[in-house]
Amino acid sequence: MTDTLATPAKPQGIRITGAFHRLLAFSGLIALVVVFSLASPNFMQTNNVLAILQATSVNGVLAIAATLVIITGGIDLSVGTLMTFCAVICGVVLTYLGMPLPLGILAAIAAGTASGLISGTIVAKLKVPPFIATLGMMLILKGLSLVISGTRPIYFNDTPGFTQIAQGSIIGSVFPALPIPNGVLILFLVAIIAAFILGRTVLGRYTFALGSNEEAVRLSGVNTDRWKIAVYALAGGICGVAGLLIASRLNSAQPALGQGYELDAIAAVVIGGTSLSGGRGTILGTLIGALIISVLANGLRILSVAQEWQTVVTGTIIILAVYADILRRRRL
């Protein structure tokens, strides 16, 4: 209209700022790594770095699932017990029914997706707040895991390759110097796929749009319910992957595990800068958040800090890390 309005899009400027921004986002993580490296020579050993990455894999995958739901403005408390449920289903298919490995993998992911579909439907169609819908699902899945497994672990001893899913190292078999466990590879794969879906597909667009202003999306003639259900289903499928990872690491489906994992996952998401009110968030941030949590836990253990103090220090650093991130953003 009037050219005074001309706010030239400064692609360069923005890109530089963006890259700088992204680099800085790592600052909390980098600071932690530096401190721990100085404090203990054992910290930066290859083995320990691999241990940290491996320790991030399950929580990282769960956190990615949680990120998707949180960006829509929801929350998913069921990620932990859903992971377990999927592991149990996989155990039933492989060990009790004796089916081949690919079917077990498929079953875990399908179970996760189905559960996500149900959560999503409860949220979208019945309009039950996500907190309650997924809290209910968390309890239901917890109970069902016990029921299905007969309250005992299911072992994968009859499926020899099973531990390789998380513990083997395809990369290591090609480059022996880089024995990165497959679990870590899968985490990054899931992250890349999730980031791609968020950034490049229609589903991703609606994920952000729903969290930003669901009513506006609806008024634009979009079938918001369907897309919301799709996001929950996708998140559920990702929890299925987490179920495979943990089952493979433990070479068993432990039916009692899982509750409490949702808090770590959501913490990783929020530390990673995703807003609980929805509409914004990144997978990269979530990965960093998950890494911060693992590095902290590992570092404090390596330093043999007494357990009760570990908790105190972890709490403090989580607050400080997020505060540092806030300061950084304010300055930019």
Partner: protein, 520 residues
């Protein structure tokens, strides 16, 4: 009431109406919003829908666009009866709408907002075609003569630009029926002219346009017919060209209205109430100095983005300053937060009531009391709710706020009535210095006159008032003195009665012609 509806088919008596609504009923809890309302729209017609705040205009249009379900009545499209169950179905019927309240996804970019639900895709429909999306938005902006980066997140845009994004979104739908619910409330004259050019183009293409506005002059400029509603009822439909404004207003308010406000009294040498010296922050505020005297109304004119809001917010302590001094009654004060400003006797009515003015979840009573709660505080922090109720009711009466009770949630009020609630909040606070940013945005003619009277009365009581307005006639009508801004600088002061041309000249007076891009 139906006497005036004789000339129903003024525009083109031969065409079948695209839209014919008949006997529409709608009730909300405690509110009978529409009482057997009828409405008709012809192809190629601009049909203005008029009525006071809360008359039911938006509700009627929300029914047409599938947002609300009607309680009773029939809707015909091209003569065929239809049921419109959702916004999607309305879109399928070719009905597009620009809502009164901005309904954008703030975190998404302008282009993403425009194409929501219709994203261009590639790779067999699997991937978003972001380039096509941005190009599409860019070409719409170009056709609107609008300089706006399609990739800019909506939350970084001013309200005016957000409004333009809404308009662009509606245009991109290529609807046969386009409803515009107060599209110009946040726009300035140049932008309005641009919008009208677009409307004329659409009209020529045979699009039927429903146009809702409280700006009376626009009705004459753009519309073919006018339908008036009052209190949820259909009053009549008249041809715009042959009907005097006064008649339309009389239909709206049910009586004749004296639109003339007493000419503003020139301010004498009253003491200076507020003085700011050398305010600075980045490119937005560049060395702004000004003063307002007691009893004076200082008008603030400028184009969109001139920085008027920024200056007001800075004075009020809502945003930080890099440099500058603020003096009240000659004494320098330190204002770091809105709290300090309010304590120092400054009130600020924001231009964006939804985000910065109204606590939408609270009821009307508490919104009115929000800035003055301590006034209703008995010892121990207990609130005197009875007193609050009485005072809230007084303002509801005084400003004719249309609400079923003072305990209605603010978000359920019509847009104009929400604005009145926010105004009431500042009136109750009783500040010595009042900054009103777009105070009459979305307010009907009757109420507008009422607010002008109020501002004059406040000035007469010795309050110092700054009025920011994008409506030049409003600035001219109210101000004792006019400050004009351009690109963050104050480009000059004009006396009351200055010409519009003089203001526009200052409003476009850039610091360096070389720096600035060429004017369209």
């Amino acid at each position: 009431m139906s006497i005036q509806s004789a000339s129903a088919s003024a525009a083109s008596p031969l065409a079948t109406p695209i839209v014919a609504m008949e006997g529409i009923e709608k009730s909300f809890p405690g509110v009978h919003a529409l009482k057997s309302v009828r409405f008709e729209l012809l192809p190629g017609e601009v049909h203005a829908l008029m009525g006071e705040n809360g008359a039911g205009k938006s509700t009627l249009m929300k029914i047409l666009s599938g947002v609300y379900a009607k309680d009773a009545g029939t809707i015909r499209i091209d003569g065929q009866p239809v049921e419109i169950g959702s916004p999607r179905e309305a879109q399928a019927l070719g009905i597009g709408i620009i809502h009164q309240e901005l309904s954008l996804m703030r975190e998404l970019t302008a282009a993403q907002n425009i194409f929501i639900g219709r994203e261009p895709r590639k790779a067999f429909g699997l991937l978003l075609d972001e380039a096509a999306l941005n190009d599409g938005a860019a070409s719409i902006f170009k056709s609107m003569n609008l300089a706006l980066d399609p990739r800019a997140p909506v939350e970084s845009l001013t309200i005016a630009k957000q409004q333009m994004v809404e308009i662009a979104k509606a245009l991109s739908h290529k609807s046969r029926v386009l409803i515009m619910d107060e599209p110009t409330a946040a726009l300035n004259d140049a932008e309005i002219a641009e919008l009208f050019a677009i409307i004329r183009r659409l009209k020529a293409e045979g699009v039927g346009i429903v146009y809702i506005s409280h700006k009376m002059d626009e009705i004459k400029r753009i519309s073919d017919r006018v339908t008036v509603m009052r209190d949820g009822e259909y009053v009549g439909t008249v041809p715009a060209a042959d009907t005097p404004i006064e008649t339309i207003i009389a239909m709206m308010v049910g009586r004749a209205l004296t639109t003339e406000v007493a000419a503003p009294r020139a301010s004498e040498d009253a003491p200076i109430a507020l003085e700011v010296i050398g305010l600075r922050r980045g490119r937005e505020i560049r060395d702004v100095s000004l003063h307002v005297r007691k009893g004076e109304i200082l008008g603030f004119a400028g184009l969109m983005g001139a920085g008027r809001t920024e200056v007001a917010r800075a004075i009020f302590g809502a945003d930080p300053l890099e440099a500058g001094e603020i003096r009240i009654n000659g004494k320098a004060v330190s204002i770091r937060r809105p709290e300090d400003a309010v304590k120092a006797g400054i009130g600020y009515l924001s231009e964006d009531r939804k985000h910065f003015g109204l606590a939408t979840g609270l009821d009307v009573r508490n919104n009115i009391a929000l800035a003055s709660l301590e006034r209703f505080c008995a010892p121990g922090g207990v609130l005197k709710d009875g007193e609050m109720r009485d005072i809230a009711k007084r303002y509801i009466g005084q400003l004719s706020i249309k609400t079923p009770s003072d305990q209605q949630e603010a978000r359920l009020l019509s847009g104009g009535n929400q604005q009145k609630v926010v105004i009431a909040k500042w009136l109750l606070r009783d500040c010595e210095i009042l900054i009103f940013d777009e105070p009459t945005r979305g307010i009907d003619v009757g109420a507008k006159t009422e607010i002008y009277k109020l501002l004059n009365a406040l000035a007469a009581q010795g309050r110092a008032i700054i009025v920011i307005s994008s409506e030049l006639p409003e600035v001219l009508r109210l101000s004792h003195r006019i400050a004009v801004m351009c690109e963050g600088r104050l480009t000059g002061f004009l006396p009351a009665g200055a010409s519009q041309e003089a203001i526009m000249q200052l409003a476009t007076q850039r610091q360096s012609a070389v720096e600035a891009p060429h004017a369209a």
